[in-house]
Assembly symmetry: C2
Homo-oligomer: 214 residues x 2
DNA sequence: CTAACAATGTGATAACTGTCACACAGTCGT
DNA sequence: ACGACTGTGTGACAGTTATCACATTGTTAG
């Protein structure tokens, strides 16, 4: 895979995720080939946008024909880096944490949950689903380091998020996905993404309010 | 509140949500006034960006001084429309749905959960927390219509999402927040936001892969 | 009262992102 | 073998969003 340019819009990555997700759920047998127009229809993106997005990374289609469905899926997975298996941990085994742990998405997209952490003594020592142990949050640094865990998902209450982030960083984590509604601070070298559910709800409220006011 | 222009960047709304969330968690007594520099420090946004964001909606600060913390919080809440109480329903009482239902965020940000829906017969008829009933998904249209519910949150498995969306729309819903990893289709008049957890994970994987490759 | 100061609000500018039109390459029918 | 056709890939353009510098305005001290 060749990256022509280092300046890829974040929105492009988001859309690539949409594409690959759709392709994965598409019956590859009945649709061996797909055009940017068809894909755009399903993902609600303009055909030109799709071609542009893909063009950042190379040429994956055949002119006059379209894209080989299975091949395109594999290519995008390669671009996104979801064809390896990232050692991952979830910190905070509340309802949200459990939802993520049960999510079969992880298996499909190359995230391997190694272990979970929580501070509730009643949860510590128990196991999630198959064989994911729940350990105390104080062990985060050691375990992350020892098991070479590269991704940490924070699903704790707001007040604990920064502390947990610090512990993950101390253990040598590479990337963090934070679900707590604050922007945790981490060193420059750590890749961080914040998923703000509250922000999405606020945004919805705003759009509805606009509609009402106009 | 005056809206100077109708073309507000979506990113601005997202940041306003961050600001108001931070202000809400700030001890208003010890910080009666806050500058764009201080707020920017906490929210990891440049001071100029904050002033620009606010300037779309009016003038809320005092030159040479800063912003009245409590007043600014109230103003942003007004802008976002999270000072009313939106009648809301959650469809899909799995782990993710339960996580949201237990989320005390709703109370604070003006979303009032009226009822929940699920298709699992074992869940139907039971209640969540205080007094939120779980009804069968077939009742969605009637209940949404009858109770004048304006916001629907979809936390069902992927395959059910479109069907649920259709039912919500049929019942006269105003806005939908969709957590299923597909882009559901709704009429133009319905406000829709997709929260794609999978997309966030893919994005994280991409960023980590980039770092590895370079 | 006046001058020094502090932090906002905003017009101008730069950077980024998406749209469009069309050249180009591969396919299929005759 | 060749021409009509189809859908990709991309350079040019337009629109959007963020950054910057500074004029502006209220505060405070002497």
């Amino acid at each position: 895979m060749k990256t022509k340019d280092s300046k890829i819009p974040e929105a492009t990555i988001k859309r690539l995720s949409t594409y690959v997700n759709y392709l994965g759920r598409l019956g590859t047998d009945s649709n061996p080939v797909i055009s940017s127009e068809m894909l755009g229809e399903s993902c609600q993106v303009s055909p030109a946008q799709i071609r542009k997005d893909l063009s950042y990374f190379g040429e994956f289609g055949v002119r006059g024909v379209g894209y080989d469905t299975k091949k395109l899926e594999a290519e995008i997975k390669d671009i996104l880096g979801i064809n390896h298996s990232w050692p991952t941990t979830v910190v905070g085994v509340g309802k949200l944490g459990q939802a993520l742990l049960n999510f079969d998405f992880f298996r499909k997209h190359g995230f391997r949950i190694i272990v979970a952490f929580d501070s509730d003594p009643r949860k510590i020592g128990t196991k999630i689903t198959d064989d994911i142990a729940i350990l105390p949050t104080n062990d985060i640094e050691n375990i992350v380091n020892e098991k070479k865990i590269s991704i940490g998902i924070i699903t704790t209450p707001t007040d604990w998020a920064q502390d947990v982030a610090d512990k993950l960083v101390a253990g040598g984590i590479k990337g963090i996905l934070n679900f707590a509604p604050i922007k945790v601070k981490v060193p420059e070298s750590i890749t961080l993404r914040n998923v703000s559910i509250t922000s999405e709800l606020d945004n919805l409220a705003y759009l509805l309010t606009q509609k009402k006011r106009q």
